[in-house]
Symmetry: C2
Subunit: 412 residues, 2 copies
């Protein structure tokens, strides 16, 4: 019998009515002849509330105790979810991470999953029960409660799907799936039928926000088919799966923008081995996360180096850069916090030409100036003036026909 | 090193400020050179709130899931308590019932404790840590969470004290200890220095309310010294301990009243073996809890039978009695719901004369009419008119000098 893992986030289980709505999703799948494992998060803003309770008692709560505290949120949801199913006539049983032996390492607040007692879960499913498991948490080898950190419930769901060889891991959200572009900005954006793990990873890291990078990476490693869908309505959502040949025919799957980035440029750094290594070691030591890096030689002795950082890290990054400027005797330091990134993503880029050309052409036609360009194997990003980024996205979406599903696009 | 178990109820840990106050109680004992194990309940009205959440989803929630849900309340408290201690400079670690292997039977919502991993707790104490344990909960042999039911946190504390051979089990409340009488009614009541298990059991079952019967019975079985004391102030509280010779010198330790009782009398039941057994079997089948039973033969063929029930059970009890009246062809059925019980309790009664005489004398002097009288080895209870019960208590307290500690009473 096919096993389906269904994951419901905090907003999808925020109150009794929403828990019942989620439970109906379970029953639909049961009626279709599947065995269902539910993964649920803490209700609504409970985790934040518990965090506030903790901070009232300790400015920097011991991580073990924080995990012990925060894990109660999901435990409440799963038992309530089991009650809802029982009231609706379905047999159900709830488990904490510890009860299903979701073993993790001992790194509190960002534990990694090591193993799951899938045989135990199977035996419960075979009793005709829905198995409801707390997301976000496990235990270490000593029985201490550990939490998986941000996006942990998605990761729990994917890990369970992998361990149980589930047919699908459904991630319920409040949007219809993964869109070709942010529908809040580009109104004509459409939901993607399917997308590859790599594309979803690029989209996630560029802030499309529907899925956490970590859960997608986990799914890719264990080949778990994810379906991102809306808790409301009938939209089948977006499937995230391994790359299949027909995906190559699609030039660009989606486009994203990021407004929270800033760029630091160091002009005229010494063009000798080890300079870049030194710069990024110093930034790492200051805990600055560095995004796209660009370097160009400008003479046999000198090079220009620039990189992107989150705006939140800009002050720190700038200070490090100022120090480095003095030490390295750079010609100048340029900081831009008025830029944004517009990116296109598509595995088709690997095998097809013309994406860059079409992208730059679209931006030019829209009179958007490009500050800088970076690329990965399946992505091209352009830094543009922040005031022009919505216009840039619109132009890009139009050029790549992101207002319609891939199968309806026409070759131009 | 002496081990002290300290139990804090829901009101004593209701918010951050109260948790800090409780934590200071722990630190006092640590500074006095003790090892401390804390047992804590869910904060404030959390258990009630979770119960409400459950009832929103299920009119009669499955007990396993209810236990899984309700147990989160204590888990939150213990982790927050550990954070508070850490912030105050004390090493502390929190555990759920499952984590210290508090093994129970599988009777959800009213489980019985079978064993505790005391070696594990000792090893944590020996690391210089305060060990903070969830009250009210354990796990069964399959790892399911079980709760101990009403008064469960007191029972957890006493069980831990027994398993760890603790010097004392401190139960913190919002009153100074166990009073000679309810200070809300008899203003001059004083706190008892010490009281025997049996007296405490009689007091508890008569509704003095400070300690649960079950926890006291557990303490008696394992000879655990309990100290009931106020979370605020410096009152040393009341020690509940095994009977010691000097207790015998005290005629009466305390007096109580109970207003929630009603009396059912069946006049002229057949005076043959098995009649009483039949009556109480039928009442038990109707789930009526029966208190004091009185029976008197009135002729070779007939007897009068009466018994006390809680007012909440009166309607059911009356219906059962009506049926029995017809079946047994009784002469009459008398119901009194306008009575209350006034009782005196003291282990000294076992070895000293004159208690009954003094009691009846005091009531007579106060012009309180006695409806009926029942006794146990260490208790005498009189049913009186409900309108006279406060006056009766006052008269009794005066007669037995319950306005002063036992050591200050004078022989009269």
């Amino acid at each position: 019998m096919a096993i389906i893992v269904q994951k419901f986030g905090g907003t999808s289980v925020a109150n009794a009515e929403k828990i019942r709505r989620a439970a109906r999703r379970v029953i639909e799948r049961m009626q279709a002849g599947c065995q269902v494992v539910v993964v649920a998060s803490a209700r609504g803003h409970q985790t934040e509330e518990l965090m506030r309770d903790a901070l009232e008692l300790h400015p920097n709560p011991p991580k073990r105790e924080l995990d012990q505290l925060l894990s109660t949120g999901e435990q409440q949801t799963v038992s309530l979810f089991a009650m809802a199913l029982d009231a609706m006539g379905s047999k159900a049983i709830s488990f904490t991470g510890g009860q299903i032996r979701m073993m993790t390492d001992g790194v509190y607040s960002k534990a990694q999953i090591i193993s799951i007692d899938s045989e135990f879960i199977r035996s419960e499913l075979d009793k005709g029960r829905v198995v409801i498991v707390t997301g976000f948490q496990g235990i270490d080898q000593y029985g201490n409660v550990t939490t998986l950190g941000r996006g942990g419930a998605d990761t729990s769901a994917v890990a369970l799907a992998a361990a149980l060889k589930a047919e699908e891991c459904e991630i319920f959200t409040d949007v219809d799936g993964i869109y070709t572009a942010d529908p809040g900005i580009y109104k004509k954006a459409v939901v993607l039928d399917q997308i590859s793990y790599d594309e979803a990873l690029e989209m996630a890291s560029l802030g499309s926000g529907v899925m956490q990078t970590r859960a997608v990476a986990f799914a890719k490693r264990y080949d778990v088919k994810i379906r991102v869908r809306n808790i409301a309505g009938d939209n089948p959502g977006t499937i995230i799966t391994r790359e299949v040949p027909q995906m190559e025919g699609v030039l660009v799957s989606g486009a994203t923008i990021q407004k929270d980035m800033a760029k630091i440029g160091m002009a005229g750094i010494p063009n000798v081995p080890g300079t870049a290594a030194m710069v990024f070691a110093r930034l790492a030591a200051a805990k600055v996360v560095v995004h796209d890096i660009m370097q160009t030689e400008i003479s046999p002795e000198k090079a220009n180096l620039s990189f992107m950082v989150n705006k939140a890290d800009l002050a720190t990054a700038k200070q490090v850069a100022e120090e480095l400027k003095a030490e390295l005797r750079c010609d100048g330091l340029f900081v831009r916090d008025d830029i944004a990134l517009v990116s296109v993503i598509g595995v088709g880029m690997r095998s097809q030409y013309g994406v860059a050309e079409k992208l730059f052409g679209a931006l030019a036609k829209a009179e958007v100036n490009i500050d800088s360009i970076t690329t990965s194997e399946i992505r091209i990003s352009c830094a543009v003036d922040i005031g022009q980024v919505e216009k840039a996205l619109e132009a890009v979406c139009l050029a790549f026909q992101l207002d319609r599903p891939a199968r309806q696009r026409v070759a131009v």
